[in-house]
């Protein structure tokens, strides 16, 4: 069992490894955490995920750009692959939340959607990524199949953005309890509301927080 001090050192090391996109250190420290008896859950939440949250902030402040964020996420996954199998069912205080995510039909811009995915995975969510140019019916089908808490829709063009209200209707018709969140450069909180979405986030850094707030606002499963 690691001392409190050593535990803090490992957690800090994990955070820094993610921020410095040091895949090798993230893997090494994840193994050290397991070997020295640090809880895998803490190592993920207070180590890797906290690091990734910081990365999201740096991206929002234009200190990091897409290449840096992608490599940070590689370091994150290098650690998660090692730690996740060791998280015990009772560790997490709540059931793991799920999101269906995709870029709507006609649109192939996927960089933003991928960053959003990374932030949800870092926060411990199970992400069902449908990719880009996703047929409109597919979102509701996947939500029904997985019973996901949230569907996240991305669009980067004003043309494809117009598909969103229709997708939202399809989802609500099939699963009235499912929450829908939208994002992408042409969207705004006003447009999101007009379209019947339950939530909107400006960037990947804010997406998870907004998702959690949205669920508690709606008083659903969250």
């Amino acid at each position: 069992m690691a001392s409190a001090e050593r535990t803090q050192e490992i957690l800090k090391g994990l955070r820094e490894a993610v921020v410095a996109y040091d895949e090798e250190a993230a893997a090494r420290l994840s193994k050290a955490a397991l070997a020295e008896g640090v809880s895998a859950y803490d190592a993920v939440r207070q180590g890797l995920a906290a690091g990734m949250e910081k990365v999201g902030e740096m991206f929002a402040k234009h200190e990091y750009f897409v290449p840096e964020v992608l490599l940070c996420s590689d370091a994150l996954y290098a650690g998660l692959d090692i730690l996740r199998p060791h998280i015990r069912a009772g560790d997490a205080s709540e059931v793991r939340k799920q999101i269906v995510l995709g870029t709507v039909e006609g649109d192939v811009h996927d960089i933003g959607k991928n960053l959003v995915k990374i932030m949800f995975e870092a926060a411990g969510w199970l992400v069902h990524d449908l990719g880009t140019d996703v047929k409109l019916e597919k979102f509701a089908e996947e939500q029904a199949r997985t019973n996901a808490d949230i569907v996240g829709l991305s669009a980067l063009m004003t043309s494809t953005m117009l598909a969103m209200p229709r997708v939202i209707q399809m989802i609500k018709a099939r699963s009235p309890g499912a929450a829908v969140m939208v994002g992408g450069a042409p969207l705004s909180p006003e447009i999101a509301r007009q379209y019947g979405a339950d939530g909107y986030a400006r960037n990947a850094g804010e997406a998870v927080r907004e998702a959690v707030n949205m669920l508690s606002r709606l008083g659903t499963k969250g």
């Binding site: 996109y21 840096e68 992608l70 006609g106 192939v108 960089i111 004003t158 043309s159 117009l162 042409p186």
Partner: protein
Amino acid sequence: MARQDRMTSPERMADLLGGRPIDRVPLFLFAKGFSAVNVGYPVASVVNDPEKSFRAQVWTQEMYGHDEEPRLSYAIYGGWEFGGEVKFPTGEFAQAPSISRYPVQSEADVEKLKLPDVKTAGILPLMMEFCRLQEKAGRPIVPSFESPFTTAGNICGVSTLCRWMLKRPELVHRLLRLATDHVLEMMRYWVETFGAERLRPNEGAPTESNNMISAKHFAEFAFPYVKELHGKLLAMGVKHIASHICGEQNANLPYWAQVPMGDPGIVSFGHEVDLATAVKYFGDTCVIAGNIQPAVIQTGTPEQVYQLCGQALAKAKYAPRGFILMPGCELSPLTPPHNVYMMKKAVTDFGWYEAVPSDV
């Protein structure tokens, strides 16, 4: 009654590029999918059917009285040409083609990658057919491509490109080398076919925007190749290069300003770059074009569009080498016609350079 144009579109553009006075600010619509839909064709025809594409763009140009030469182009340039697969747009919300399989999937693929045959690769036979229609019509000829950096992203996928920039920069440089050499070969073929004098090459540069990469990475990867490419195109006898500097690129502008564009070049911007800033960096060497947000043209009110255009004209009308009113990126095919008309109305209300005849 609104004032009448005193020049035809070809006269206006020839005199603008020749440094002579013109009657009013020219209007470009950046309307490809929009033009197809405007005349009742499928969106895809603007890229995969040269005849329909040309006709749709010419008719739309005539209907709206705008001054942009038609073109057969796409932002995913390189993906198909280097051996991948593309999907043409279908469905009611689609606007443009996409890459369904990248030619480069692994590091090993980069080694194996070869320069494509410019007579047969990807969209080039269609583009050649299109340019022959331009030649037959006695119009300028517009070959289109993307910047080396954007082309590289279209060859291996943008996420992979981003990772390699930090981890395997030599692979990125190899892709950039191939992308640059390919466009040079393609343009040599065009010069041989039509002569350099009539060519108005058109380039798009979205992936190097600061939405994606830092100015430091722009300087390291994008800048040297686009600078080399343009230098060599001008050395082939090309007179004017039109470059669309897409998205948020403010931090890259000091580098772009060192890229030769011709005398003058034409540089166009999205709403992310203020026109006063554009004039500051490029006004002495280039015609400035832009920057009405396509989202507003699609979803805003006519008053909003008209007002934005008025503001743009006030800012840039007297740019030293000239100004062209233009959307900040390609118009959505779903843009309402009356909002497009607001752009035309703005140039006919505020775009004149000559005094009103009765004032003289």
